[in-house]
């Protein structure tokens, strides 16, 4: 999938920006705070219905404006054209998404239609942050490739919040009863086992992609691996019924503890993704450099995995990665992007970028200043 053009209206720094996108690599140069990342964020709205880093839609509205609109023309791998419009109104607190002018009622249903892979400084948390950061990583990947997973996830989160509320109130002594908990257990188990099973399956499917991507970036010598540590002790070899039985048993065992702590202690929301290099835990033993290599490998693997699963080439968004990665890694990554479909890159230092890109000129270059984007011809700048 590729974007032909992207428009931003009163979106963060951009009053009215129109970008005719190159179908290969697009690079946006500019100083910090000028509005480079905003462009990638707008693309994230088109693909994932939300920003890849900000949690609130309201913050994406340009100061003093009542809402924003992001529109695009996208072309799928088999050359079908789509018009996508995402608009948000601050007053109505409402986000609307339309594809080919038809409003999409269930916004989550467009996730996966226009697959995207994002590598941004915030992603560093995937390897070095909390288990929640890693769960978010796999949730975004699986959601894009499997719609019922996303639906299960949305329902599971809702059930979890409701159930935690019952436990919290029972801890506070406001209401105490197993009867009130029970109606939530059944679907917690059903949806939860489904999610855990799907994640276990994903980890197995994803492994070869990761190994392959790691070799592309770091060469041979280090063997990465990804494992899934489920709180309901499930793995890919179990049937869904068995996973449910495990879940039920764990829940039963934690009953007293849950009442005491006032929160749900079992389920996919407690799961952990384990990254290793040569059998050693990345979290405990890896150097900064290994963390970065692993992260880039995860993202490259995500790209190939999604392309396979969605039967559609994802768009790649690289936000400020060249200030994070050292010279050789930047060069490897940039060289890789030549074969990864459409890519949107932001960079502050044009000199560094040019070094890393080995002066190649097959990049569409843009300058971003105070929310205005100017297209610059590649040849002029590389000379």
């Amino acid at each position: 999938m590729k974007f032909r053009e992207v428009r931003l209206q009163t979106f963060r720094n951009h009053e009215a920006t129109e970008i005719g996108c190159a179908l290969g690599r697009n690079v946006f140069f500019g100083n910090n705070g000028e509005g480079k990342t905003n462009i990638l964020e707008a693309i994230s709205y088109l693909c994932l219905t939300k920003s890849f880093y900000a949690s609130s839609d309201a913050t994406a509205v340009q100061f003093g404006q009542s809402g924003f609109t992001v529109s695009a023309i996208a072309v799928s791998d088999i050359d079908v054209s789509y018009k996508i419009d995402v608009s948000y109104s601050r007053d109505a607190k409402e986000k609307k998404i339309a594809v080919n002018n038809g409003v999409i009622e269930d916004k989550s249903s467009i996730i996966g239609m226009f697959p995207v892979v994002v590598l941004s400084p915030e992603n560093a948390n995937v390897t070095s942050g909390t288990p929640a950061d890693r769960r978010r990583f796999i949730d975004v990947v699986i959601s894009q490739s499997n719609k019922s997973y996303l639906q299960d996830l949305i329902e599971y989160r809702r059930i979890l919040r409701q159930r935690n509320r019952v436990l919290f109130e029972s801890k506070a002594g406001q209401r105490t009863s197993q009867d009130l908990l029970e109606p939530w257990n059944e679907n917690l188990i059903k949806r939860g086992s489904q999610i855990s099973q799907r994640r276990a399956q994903f980890v197995q499917e994803f492994s070869p992609y990761l190994v392959d991507a790691y070799i592309r970036i770091a060469g041979r010598g280090e063997e990465p691996s990804i494992g899934y540590d489920s709180s309901i002790k499930t793995d890919n070899s179990l049937t869904i019924e068995q996973a449910q039985t495990f879940f039920r048993r764990e829940l039963e065992q934690q009953r007293v503890e849950e009442q005491k702590l006032g929160t749900t202690l079992v389920g996919p929301h407690k799961d952990e993704l384990v990254f290793e290099i040569n059998g050693l835990s990345l979290k405990t033993f890896a150097s900064q450099g290994q963390h970065k290599t692993f992260l880039v490998a995860l993202k490259v693997a995500e790209f190939f995995y999604l392309r396979e699963q969605c039967q559609e080439t994802p768009v790649l968004l690289l936000d400020d990665v060249f200030s994070e990665l050292d010279g050789p890694r930047s060069e490897k990554l940039l060289a890789l992007t030549a074969n990864l479909g459409q890519t949107f890159i932001t960079a502050t230092d044009e000199q560094r970028f040019s070094t890393a890109s080995k002066q190649r000129n097959d990049f569409a270059r843009y300058f971003v200043r105070k929310g205005k984007v100017t297209f610059a011809k590649a040849e002029v700048l590389t000379n």
């Binding site: 007053d91 109505a92 269930d106 249903s109 499997n146 719609k147 019922s148 639906q151 299960d152 329902e155 809702r158 059930i159 919040r161 409701q162 159930r163 509320r165 019952v166 109130e169 209401r175 009867d179 009130l180 029970e182 109606p183 939530w184 059944e186 679907n187």
Partner: protein, 198 residues
């Protein structure tokens, strides 16, 4: 948007409180009211007050009604052996339109939702249990197919099952007249989950 007339602002304010009405629409409605004749406005206002004065909840099924018991509960032609439990009065209307169901209703007044502070005591659960006399043979649970509706279904079925009454739930599945290939994944997977033996 500020109009010079305070009463227009005031009316728009009232319209804006209605569900699905935004600020702009509220102003348009307010200006529309201004164009109506006085009689029309009085009739409109009276209709609003009447709703509040005349409509009440049926003492048996808790549906909205002007007569107590409501038209359905007092109709001898309705089958007294089955009760369909729904969340809101709207749901009664929806099921009535099908002309498929000839029994009685029970309106719960919502669904379990601890996050919104709705527990069993906030719903008309006790009233439902009180209606479980010998003549009731089947209770059909027709909650919304969402997380809260599911939990309410499970909660009620647990309460009702010991009462030797047949407890059923409405099926979840595919919309009639559509193609399988166009169904969304979630609906399709739920339909698979709820498959029945032929």
């Amino acid at each position: 948007m500020f109009y010079t007339a305070e009463s227009i602002e005031h009316l728009a304010e009232q319209f804006a409180q209605l569900p699905g009405i935004g600020r702009k629409t509220a102003h348009r409605l307010a200006l529309y009211v201004l164009k109506l004749s006085r009689d029309e406005v009085v009739a409109f206002a009276k209709a609003l007050v009447d709703v509040k004065d005349k409509v009440r909840y049926c003492s048996i099924c808790s549906n909205i009604t002007e007569t107590d018991p409501c038209g359905i509960c007092s109709n001898p032609k309705r089958e007294q052996t089955s009760i369909c439990v729904v969340e809101e009065p709207n749901d009664v209307l929806a099921i009535e339109k099908t002309h498929e169901f000839k029994g009685l209703y029970h309106v719960l007044g919502g669904a379990l939702s601890p996050l919104d502070g709705v527990g069993p005591e906030d719903l008309r659960v006790k009233e439902l249990l009180q209606r479980m006399s010998d003549s009731v043979e089947e209770v059909i649970l027709a909650m919304n197919p969402n997380v809260e509706g599911e939990a309410t279904t499970l909660y009620l079925s647990k309460l009702l099952k010991p009462l030797t009454v047949k407890v059923t739930r409405i099926a979840r599945g595919l919309p009639v007249g559509s193609d399988l290939e166009f169904a969304d994944e979630a609906t399709l997977s739920r339909a698979l989950e709820g498959r029945i033996t032929l």
